[in-house]
């Protein structure tokens, strides 16, 4: 189910501060969002609506993250519609035996007119062995 994700100036400003940016593009009234800002969709994701990949949380790692913008990034004042799905799953042999499992979660962001404006692709990994048992 798609859910609402308003782009708020205060949250963009807070995010810009967390990324130690003083770029004015993130400060003006109609600021664009920073490249990784859409991760904060977490604040709007309804509880239980995110698809569960079914991985063991103790072996879960964040492998990759990607943002695609179909034009300039969204701006403060826009109210986007977001929806997350599991787009891909695959497996690889672990370096020390066992199987590593991968899942790609895609969140699509649409503007008020329904046009796809941005995508977030998150790759999560279930390691073949628990991370704490690997040398650091």
């Amino acid at each position: 189910m798609p859910f609402e994700f308003p782009i708020e100036r205060g949250k963009v400003r807070e995010f810009a501060r967390a990324m130690q940016s003083d770029n004015q593009a993130y400060q003006v009234v109609d600021a664009v969002v920073p490249p990784t800002f859409l991760v904060s969709v977490a604040h709007w994701t309804p509880v239980g609506s995110r698809p569960d990949v079914g991985f063991d949380r103790k072996r879960l790692l964040h492998g990759e993250q990607e943002y695609i913008f179909h034009g300039p990034p969204p701006r403060c004042g826009q109210v986007l519609s977001a929806e997350t799905r599991i787009a891909d799953r695959y497996e690889k042999a672990g370096r020390r035996g066992g199987t590593m499992r991968f899942a790609v979660m895609v969140t699509e962001f649409r503007d008020e007119g329904g046009t796809l404006v941005a995508e977030q692709r998150m790759t999560v990994v279930e390691t073949a062995v628990a991370p704490e048992s690997e040398p650091t």
Binding site: F15, S21, P34, P35, V39, E64, E66
Partner: protein, 137 residues
């Protein structure tokens, strides 16, 4: 570093962040909505076998994004990809740098692809990234 107004800067100065602190991780948690306790709850992290809390990978990605958009323009970004390699710990000093790997002239501007890295003071790479920017001409 705003040479993009007058032309493409192919040799940006790396940007140094840090030493990063637990306060930075907490600020990022609040901004992003990622409240995994591994990044701010010391007993939780040490209980899981780690020497201390460590930075969110996406926190480093955000610092890399600061470097990249100061360099090539916040409004010009069209793609931003990161792969997480190594953990970042409190008091680490991070250096973000980038190089242009591809330029393609399009009807609405110059599409530039850049390779990005965020390295720790040890020289080890914490995250590698790549990004596309469409620079108006």
């Amino acid at each position: 570093m705003s040479e993009t107004d007058t032309g493409l800067n192919r040799n940006p100065e790396p940007r140094v962040f840090g030493p990063v602190s637990r306060a930075d991780f907490v600020r990022y948690a609040g901004a992003s909505g990622d409240f995994n306790p591994m990044h701010y709850d010391e007993p939780f992290a040490t209980g899981a076998g780690f020497p201390s809390v460590f930075s969110q990978g996406m926190h480093q990605a955000a610092l890399l994004a600061t470097f990249a958009t100061d360099w090539l323009g916040a409004e010009n970004i069209r793609r931003f990809h990161v792969r997480f390699r190594e953990q970042v710990w409190p008091d680490d000093v991070l250096t973000c740098s980038g190089t242009i790997t591809q330029e393609e002239r399009q009807a609405d501007g110059l599409l530039v692809t850049a390779d990005l890295t965020c390295a720790r003071q040890t020289g080890a790479v914490a995250i590698v990234g790549s990004a596309d920017f469409l620079i108006p001409e």
